[in-house]
Symmetry: C2
Subunit: 203 residues, 2 copies
């Protein structure tokens, strides 16, 4: 059974747990604390020199970092990856958008405002305004899309939706007001209605 | 012929030009200046609400943003995308690494130190140290991989290499010393020896 090296609070790790659950893939979870550099030890860096989770490790020793690459790989050939070339391109485009324009503001604001020790937030207080401005800009791009379309790629739920759901559904923990985004709010409900959906706190 | 909305100096746009050239795909280039908000006009935002280039636009009006999604899509089924599932996963993993852990430091340092108006750099001088520390950390992760392997995914040159080449080969413009990375330096030479390679300044 593959081992998912992960942090329980991480939306990036949640994407992998959710995808695996919806595909019926069993994972062994190996938890690391969110604070204190647990993924910067020599032992962990030997597995992933970039020092990050999620990291999926197979029994033969192969490892794969990067949440969106992991879920794309796990879901290959399943209903969660669009079978049409253009829809696959759309899904990947939204997944790169998520990592470049969304996660680094929406997830980071949630981490420091809701979960990190107060002194860690204090060191970064001058950044909160930028996190909120750029995170809201990313949410506005999603809202624009979801006013016209039910899903991010093609005509159904896919790994593109899972990638964006990871940190969007809990964005209010980071001080974002999802009440300003009615199309996103309805999409969150649609995602939650998918078969075998699990919440971020489920294992 | 598809139109590539692009900025000439951008490594992200160069990835698309290089991939298209190596696949024999002709593109019409529509240039935008690097400064002054040319991709934040209502006309451009109607095409890409995220206000970024590269953006590839087909004759039927379909548009695709995000450099790595564009090159993955253009190269689908070609020798530039690994045909084996695990190697495809490796390529995508490195492409997400590039956008999350590399571009935002290596490319940003190059942009402000070598190309932006001096007053724009002045506003961000307090960030240069972080760009260099985190950019060097990303280069060290690449160096570690390239000590053991010739290419980023599978046994040959792929879109994974193109994605990382975009900003790595010109990292010295951002104040990074590639002399500290002999395996990267040899890989840059291997990439340059690939058939139909073009430089960043070629159109």
């Amino acid at each position: 059974m593959p081992v998912l090296h992960q942090m329980p609070l991480s939306g990036n790790c949640y994407k992998v747990r959710l995808t695996a659950k919806q595909l019926g893939i069993s994972l062994t979870l190996r938890d690391y604390p969110e604070f204190g550099g647990a993924t910067r030890t020599p032992e962990f860096l030997a597995k992933n020199p970039n020092g990050r989770v999620p990291l999926l490790e197979w029994e033969d020793g192969r490892v794969l970092p990067e949440s969106n690459a992991i879920i794309w790989h796990l879901a290959g050939g399943s209903r969660l990856v669009p079978d049409e070339s253009w829809s696959r391109a759309e899904a990947l485009s939204w997944m790169f958008f998520e990592q470049y324009s969304h996660e680094r503001y929406v997830a980071v604001a949630r981490f420091y405002l809701a979960h990190a020790p107060k002194d860690e937030l204090k060191k970064r207080e001058h950044l909160v305004c930028e996190w909120h401005a750029k995170g809201n800009a990313a949410l506005a791009v999603m809202e624009d899309h979801l006013r016209k379309r039910d899903w991010f790629a093609g005509a159904r739920y896919s790994v593109g939706d899972i990638a964006l759901f990871g940190y969007t559904h809990c964005a209010e923990e980071g001080g974002f007001n999802l009440g300003n985004y009615p199309a996103i709010t309805r999409w969150i409900e649609r995602v939650r209605e998918q078969p075998a959906h699990i919440s971020l706190s489920a294992r």
